[in-house]
Symmetry: C2
């Protein structure tokens, strides 16, 4: 039901500086960078095995991620796990009393359905669920 | 050279409470639990694809992880990436000016060689390197 870690998202102050570590020094490939104005972040995607490292640089200090960076500093922001059936997983989680940030999955342009578990239900970790399009 | 995410380590206040989310609600298998008195943690291992979630409960508030929990609260603690040749990776990192916590790998009982990159060189993330025994 839970297949793999899809990505680990890391909030950074500066994408170029972060790439100097993850790409240049550690040697991970950079598959793409993308501006996401809807979520006020620029993102760099670095595949790592069956998962990815996603580096997020907030573009607006007043956005959710911008405020997170100001408050908590750089570091791991969320952990995304890929599931076959996100509706079934959400039903199971809420049946166990887990609080979701969104109980109804949102849908990205390319068809990925996603939802977030509230960190207070997941031991302080912001957990994202992904159901990829067929 | 960098093969996969070996594990994401999460610091928790209470292993049983954390297992109620990760095992009981989310449905991950629990492969084992282990007391690690050397590092003052009890650990639960939950395989997830080619990686693992490791839940760490500090057993001593004055240990490194105990102090981390008191200061930062529950959440993701470090990200471990598995490499073929840890000496080559450390040489490459330090050649790029990256600061290691330990430049000489330590060795676990079962033969895994490991080293930590200082978070200040890795955008706030404590990165562990693993070279598994042959």
């Amino acid at each position: 039901m839970i297949n793999r870690i899809n990505h680990v998202a890391i909030v950074v102050e500066d994408l170029d500086a972060a790439l100097r570590f993850w790409r240049d020094a550690l040697g991970l490939p950079l598959s793409k960078t993308e501006a996401n104005p809807g979520e006020n972040v620029d993102i760099a995607f670095l595949p790592l095995g069956e998962s990815e490292i996603e580096l997020l640089e907030p573009t607006d200090p007043d956005s959710g991620i911008g405020k997170y960076l100001a408050k908590k500093g750089q570091g791991m922001h969320h952990l995304c796990v890929e599931v076959d059936d996100i509706d079934a997983v959400i039903a199971r989680l809420t049946g166990h009393g887990v609080e979701m940030i969104n109980e109804t999955p949102r849908v990205r342009d390319e068809g990925t359905r996603y939802a977030f578990v509230h960190p207070k239900s997941a031991g302080g970790v912001l957990v994202e669920l992904y159901e990829l399009p067929e």
